[in-house]
């Protein structure tokens, strides 16, 4: 079996995001970038399945500017076999990304596509679902446990009510939750080996797809600052403030 795993390069989760003054977006110059954390979980799970012997090949794909290759190299360093970089320099909405992924799926013919449940930059949480719809494949989103059977996947999903167990037939789309696993560290020798693993490079323009963004971004602004807390002297004061000022009880 074969897995295609999608990774996205985003601003590192530790970095404090700075909004541009004109509201057109956020600053990315000289900002530390990393692989989207749930995508790391997707890579880890793919590699685990490969190590279990059930999966033969893991192909990592990233769509974006040249530096997106860093995220692919990282996936290769922890065990993916091959990389595909689809170059595009501007922001593409999940719909466009799903279209590109569909094209690659048709070419690579994987049995499963693993993705992070959402990217921490735009928080869309759409790409996996859209890809499933376009391919007419079953989807298992927010997966926190994956069990690969002969022709299906048993998946535990994290949902509002608790945990839901479902079974989906292959081929299928799996989007991964942070609790699915703990991604491993890449070792030095594996980082060096990863530099020699094959990486196919495509240009999004050559795929013959309509990647026009459908959503117009009006403005990006910072969330309002939280007001400082206050100390209350006793319970009575707390209750009175909750009742009269906050009006929550």
């Amino acid at each position: 079996m074969k897995i295609l795993v999608a990774v996205k390069r985003v601003i590192d989760y530790n970095v404090q995001i700075r909004v541009k003054e004109d509201g057109s977006g956020v600053h990315t110059d000289n900002v530390k970038m990393s692989t989207n954390p749930p995508d790391d979980n997707a890579v880890e799970e793919s590699v685990k399945l490969k190590e279990s012997g059930k999966v033969k090949e893991v192909v990592a794909i990233s769509i974006g500017e040249d530096k997106a290759q860093e995220s692919i190299r990282k996936a290769l360093a922890v065990g993916a076999d091959k990389g595909i970089h689809v170059k595009i320099d501007n922001y593409v909405e999940p719909l466009g990304i799903a279209k590109i992924l569909k094209k690659i799926v048709e070419k690579e013919k994987p049995d499963m596509v693993f993705l992070g449940k959402q990217a921490i930059d735009d928080d869309c949480n759409q790409t996996g679902q859209m890809l499933a719809a376009m391919l007419n494949w079953p989807q298992a989103t927010f997966s926190s446990k994956v069990n690969l059977k002969d022709k299906s996947l048993e998946i535990v999903r994290e949902i509002d009510e608790g945990l839901e167990t479902i079974e989906v037939n292959l081929p299928a789309i799996v989007t991964c939750d942070l609790r699915l696993n703990e991604p491993r560290f890449a070792s030095l020798p594996n980082i060096m080996k990863a530099k020699k693993k094959p990486m196919e490079q495509l240009n999004a323009k050559d795929l013959g797809l309509d990647l026009t963004n459908r959503i117009q971004q009006l403005k990006v602004e910072e969330p309002p600052k939280r007001k400082a807390g206050i100390k209350v002297a006793n319970v009575a004061e707390l209750v009175s403030k909750l009742k009269n000022e906050a009006k929550v009880i």
């Binding site: 530790n14 404090q16 700075r18 000289n30 530390k32 990393s34 703990e182 560290f185 030095l188």
Partner: protein, 535 residues
């Protein structure tokens, strides 16, 4: 079981200006050498913090066409100012009366982190392997006692040191020559200096703690290319330090403060002195209405040649501020660090090809312009141990009249951890509350550094005696770690000493200033620590 090992010609520890210069020069001289750099930061530049007014001398030698290669060295210094601050006054010092080392008209205002990122790219183009996220945690020795290489840290240990599922054993990297370029107070450099007695006969090393904030200000407050320094308030006559204010591109001001770690009052909080400094009426107007967009802190070397250890040992070299090549009166160290890196590379080539002794590195360094510069600068810092006013008078005579050629060398008398006076002999200092606009608390500041350390890993700030902070240091010095740490890693809560090591920004101040040298900074899991942008 033996750890996995990789063999290199040269292993370099730390991707700062010195280490990167060594790597680039090595590959320029011999493209066939196998060279790698270990870097504890998550990427090159993530742990670099510096003023920085940059003198291009060493870069001119290393990459003569840096301008055409897109080096991020663009903002030329266009104007200079020097202010003496009193509590309510400021006196502008004429620039013609500044010692020539403090004149910057040929220099550039840069972000050293960005320069390192660019140098990293140049090194990789030449075939240097850079491994960010891999701290060297241990020096390895051959049977004859010479340095064999370094080992990377075991990853995936829990707080108690047990192996987690993600455990990965560290690796050994063996080299013909290992180059240590960890910057000021490198934790391996410190071990080597001790083991090989490299500081024998030298004055104790002197350090400072440097803060830097980046501010985005309004157009009318900004004057690209302006370089300004201040001395005086809020520090008293006995405390060495001052500010830097550099107007960089894109309406940004690099705003910083340096305080000598030989201060005496355990109640002094360098962080709060810096915050308070911004409230001076001459300073406030430069920032008001602007926005602080970055914060960081890092210890720096101030000892000069009196404290410069021997820079070589069997199998290894110390370069840049891992040895201590910063020129304090010039307020610059990047150019001398790079020069020491270049010379290290030239010496290594001779060592490998002609079997010459590594001592040629120190010999060549002493013949270089970098050392000459440090020699003429040598008496400035020690003269300030007589106080600011006498220091300035002496420096005027030494630097302007004699250009550093006075026939004697002043020594540093004390190590920085020895200078604190007991708390009951010193006045308490009340710092004003931060307003959240101009002045800030430590919590909101550490947030801007992007620092993080994976939870559940061994604490990387080790106490030799875990009871000492409460039993002794708290009583004697009111536990100054609460104040000298710029990001509040250390707290005393109900007679308990708490170490919030996840907030550490790797500045090394605790390792330097702790009066009993009870705190040892060791490398945490790779990729941890600050994520500085254009610092």
């Amino acid at each position: 079981m033996a750890r996995e090992a990789m063999e290199y010609d040269v292993v370099i520890v730390g991707a700062g200006p010195a280490g990167l210069s060594t790597a680039i020069k090595l590959k320029q001289l011999d493209p066939n050498l196998n060279v790698c750099i270990l870097e504890k930061g998550s990427e090159v530049g993530a742990h670099i913090l510096s003023g920085n007014v940059f003198e291009t001398k060493a870069l001119d030698e290393l990459i003569p066409n840096w301008k055409n290669e897109g080096a991020p060295v663009k903002t030329k210094v266009s104007k200079e100012k020097f202010l003496f601050l009193g509590k309510n006054s400021s006196l502008s010092w004429p620039t013609w009366l500044l010692p020539s080392v403090q004149k910057n008209h040929k220099n550039f205002i840069i972000s050293l982190a960005n320069l390192c990122r660019w140098l990293g790219e140049q090194a990789e183009k030449l075939g240097v392997e850079i491994f960010p996220g891999f701290p060297a945690s241990e020096v390895l020795y051959n049977e004859d006692g010479s340095v064999k290489g370094v080992a990377t840290l075991d990853m995936g240990l829990d707080k108690e040191g047990n192996k987690k599922d993600t455990y990965q054993e560290g690796m050994e990297l063996h080299a013909k020559v290992t180059v240590f370029s960890e910057g000021c107070r490198g934790h391996l450099g410190k071990q080597l200096i001790k083991k090989f007695n490299l500081d024998e006969g030298k004055s104790p090393q002197q350090y400072g703690i440097g803060f830097k904030e980046i501010w985005e200000v309004n157009e009318e407050q900004h004057q690209e290319g302006l370089v300004m320094h201040t001395a005086g308030w809020p520090l008293d006559n006995k405390t060495y330090g001052g500010s830097f204010i550099y107007h960089a591109e894109k309406r940004q001001i690099y705003f910083g403060y340096v305080i000598g770690l030989d201060y005496q009052n355990p109640y002094l909080s360098p962080f709060d002195e810096f915050q308070r400094f911004k409230t001076h009426k001459a300073i406030k107007k430069m920032l008001e209405g602007g926005k602080r967009i970055a914060f960081g802190a890092r210890a720096l070397i101030e000892g000069g040649i009196q404290s410069l250890p021997k820079m070589f040992m069997p199998g290894a070299l110390l370069i840049g501020c891992d040895a201590g090549t910063l020129n304090m009166p010039k307020i610059k160290g990047s150019h001398t660090a790079m020069k020491s890196g270049i010379i290290a590379a030239e010496s290594i080539i001779e060592n490998i090809k002609n079997k010459s002794d590594l001592s040629i590195y120190e010999k060549k360094f002493k013949e270089s312009w970098a050392y000459k510069e440090l020699y003429t600068a040598r008496n400035v810092k020690p003269s300030f141990s007589w106080g600011l006013i006498l220091g300035i008078i002496f420096t005027g005579i030494d630097q302007i009249l004699f250009r550093g050629r006075l026939p004697f060398t002043l020594k540093h008398k004390h190590a920085d951890h020895e200078t604190l006076k007991p708390a009951n002999q010193m006045p308490k200092i009340e710092y004003p509350k931060p307003d959240g606009k101009l002045t800030f608390d430590k919590t909101s500041s550490v947030y801007l550094t992007g620092t993080n350390h994976a939870e559940n890993q061994p604490v990387h700030l080790r106490l030799k005696d875990p009871n000492l902070p409460i039993n002794y240091t708290l009583k004697e010095y009111d536990e100054p770690a609460q104040r000298y740490c710029p990001v509040g890693v250390y707290e005393v809560q109900k007679e308990k000493f708490v170490i919030n090591s996840q907030n550490c920004i790797h500045c090394k101040t605790c390792d330097i200033k702790e009066p009993s040298q009870n705190i040892t900074w060791v490398a945490p899991e790779g990729g941890g620590g600050p994520k500085y942008g254009n610092m």
